[in-house]
């Protein structure tokens, strides 16, 4: 079972990668919103591949979480520490990839999310130095595009390779992953793009960001948010050495609190 989930997760990653390779051809950072709309409505099979890219990535994240859950329920961690660190790093990069992907759709919510991220970065000590890496004064989405389309995939691939030791493209798992993705996309819709001219009262970022957004609104400081965000990763690192109940309970507690704020 554990192996089964792991392989499907990997297959999902590959689907996401391949569908991304397709949609990247019609994406123009200088004309981002329009190119996304064009892709969705006019390009033949454009929406199909966009949905494939979106849902495979979302399910990828979910299956990673399931994978972690399964592994943590076991008594001991089999991989070595270095590999363990790479795995956690991969999770972090996956989330950043998700976030940059969200921004790249370039609608109103994407803009808002990017602005929020910028100001979070700006107010965070040390990390603020990295702001120029994502912010571009000329073409808003260019740097996100470069990160999402080039560097982050390379980095995550490297991390995943370090984690799994071998990359196998088993056609069966690939088929199952594709099936799951398509099944989900049959029943769920893409979250709708909010036009740049539309008047909306409230825009939201990607789902994993909701908790942070609400905490900010509830009055938590930027530093606090950083701590909240980094905490589960630290806990995970800590678990390698002492896979105690305490850390597990703490992680569970974190999940419950974050979920509470998300809703």
């Amino acid at each position: 079972m554990s192996k089964y989930v792991a392989w499907v997760t990997q297959a999902l990653f590959i689907i996401s990668l391949l569908s991304g390779l397709i949609v990247v051809f019609v994406y123009y950072p200088s004309n981002a919103y329009d190119s996304v709309q064009k892709l969705s409505f006019i390009t033949p099979f454009g929406l199909f591949f966009r949905e494939l890219h979106y849902f495979s990535s979302e399910i990828f994240i979910f299956s990673i979480l399931v994978h972690i859950l399964i592994e943590l329920s076991k008594k001991e961690i089999k991989i070595n520490f270095k590999s363990w660190i790479y795995s956690i790093f991969a999770l972090l990069v996956a989330l950043v990839l998700m976030f940059t992907g969200f921004v790249l759709k370039a609608d109103q919510s994407a803009n808002a999310a990017a602005e929020v991220a910028f100001s979070l970065l700006k107010d965070t000590p040390f990390l603020d130095k990295f702001l120029p890496l994502v912010r571009d004064n000329f073409v808003f989405y260019w740097k996100f595009f470069v990160w999402h389309g080039l560097f982050l995939p390379l980095i995550i691939e490297y991390a995943i390779l370090k984690h799994v030791r071998k990359l196998s493209v088993n056609i069966s798992y690939f088929t199952i992953a594709l099936g799951v993705t398509l099944l989900v996309s049959l029943f769920l819709n893409l979250p709708r793009d909010i036009g740049l001219d539309e008047k909306v009262l409230h825009v939201k970022g990607p789902w994993f960001f909701w908790g942070a957004e609400n905490m900010l609104q509830a009055g938590l400081s930027v530093l606090g948010i950083n701590v909240v965000i980094i905490l589960p990763f630290l806990l995970l690192i800590g678990m390698y050495k002492s896979n105690t109940k305490l850390l597990k309970i703490l992680l569970l507690l974190w999940v419950i609190i974050y979920a509470y704020f998300s809703v």
């Binding site: 089964y4 329009d34 709309q37 064009k38 969705s40 409505f41 006019i42 033949p44 099979f45 199909f48 069966s172 088929t175 199952i176 992953a177 594709l178 099936g179 799951v180 398509l182 099944l183 996309s185 049959l186 709708r192 036009g195 001219d197 539309e198 008047k199």
Partner: protein, 585 residues
Amino acid sequence: MRIFQYSLFVSIFIIGVSLYMNLEKPIAKPSSPDQCMSCHSSTTNMDKSHPIEVFGCFKCHGGNRYATNKKDAHRGVVLNPSRLEYANRFCGECHSDVVKRVSSSMMQSQNGILNVLKFQWGELSTPIGLEGVVELKDKNSTSLAESHFRKACASCHVNQHEDVFDDKKYARGGGCVDCHRIEKGHQEKNHYVHSKLSSKIPSKNCLKCHNRSNRIGISYFGKFESEGYGTPYKHGEFSHKLDGSRFYYELPADIHHTKAGLDCIDCHTEKGVMGDGKKNHHMEDAEDIKCNDCHKPKFKKADSLAVMLSDLNGNIPETKSIAYTNKKNSPIYNLQKDKNSTKFYRKRDGKAFDMSNMSNKPYHTLDIHKRLDCTSCHSSWVPSCYGCHEVYFENGKQFDWVKREVTKGSWQEFRSFLRFESPSLGVGYNKKIMPFAPGCQVIGTLFKDKKVEKFHAMAMAGWDPHTTQKEVRSCEDCHFNPASLGLGRGNLDIKNNRIFFEPFYNSKKSGMPFSYPIDGFVSSDGKQFQTTSRKDARSFNKKELQKIVGAYKCILCHDRYSDKIYKDFNKSKILFNSGKTVCLD
């Protein structure tokens, strides 16, 4: 691993279904310039400057230009992008300067009205500085003048919502289209006719609003708002209807209309109408054109705006030499000079009229009348509505045109009587002598919970009534007519250089809270009865009255401008008084 095989099997099935479904989906045919045209292909063009083949729909109306289904495509669509809250985003993308000016213009803010109203009703110390509709939008005002403004005046501003008017015939507002729309959009048998817009604004668009209060718009066309009889009856119905229960009768129309059929926009420049971006306090500040701009024109080389405007108009030739307004230096591109002639072109159709300049005859050059505004002689009549009885019912309910909902407090207007003959004269806002009429003579009665309060704010105002005629009033009509002098209707006489005046109207007995005659701007000894709302505007003073009436004894015989005594009238008077002239022997 049975579950593995099952899921593999199911997955293959799902992939098959999904591929089939996607292949079956029709592929959207790209249409140009935006996807809207895949449905709205039958829509006609709104004018020649914005062809749909080039602009598409999205540029002006927003929405999603790529979407091919109605729901997605219409998300965020703006039906009327020319409403000023959207205009910046749509019209303003190209016409940003105009949108900005209109948004702060008087026709949008109506601040002129609010300035004067609050000043006259004693809620403001000087009649300047307010923002009009804009400042009332989010305010809960308790002021009486503001309440009146909300429930009466505020119905007419450029950005009023057209849908609040029950009778669509009299609907006003809508932003740019309030003036620029010449035909409303409508569905025809197999195509949709888009609202037609034009820069050749027909006067009827102006008249949607400019038909009340000083009634310039209808006066220009020779309509005088009547006492409301609707006579003569035609086909068993009232005739001469304006709107609601208002009627008119025909008086001589303005010569610019009768002789050349000019529209409002033939004189009123773009800057004068849409604002100049500055904050103006009164209509005359915003106004650009003056009689002299055309009748005593100064020609200059046509600037780029002039070329653009005449090109846009299409009927008016481009020439090198055109007139400019003196005040704001805007091009009067339809008044042009070439080698042999000066021509005025009607904007509606480009019909040319030969312009002769203002005559240099003595009446325009002599010093005796140099303080006169053109209107003081050339206006043949002024709509004068005496006594504006404003009644306020605190417990009543009436529509608030700013908030667009029914709120507490209602107003009802009554009047005493109407006149058009022998306009009163006074010293106008420009320190020149011009026609005056009530503006406004408010006699207020406030029905509050348990008490009745009264106030009155009597004011006269001077304006160009737009009833210009070539023929002017006779000398006597100003120099010995009490109504023209501002004394009111009654019997005027002079004895021993003293002016005697006995008014006909008895205000006190007629229920008014003051004793001077209601049509009296000033007493015979120069005491001003009624206020004005401009710093420099006033009635004649004692000295002026005596000077005007004093000249009458000369006018009796010397009733021509060409008479030599007027060459230097002061000298003539000195000569006469010292007995050196042969007169009256």
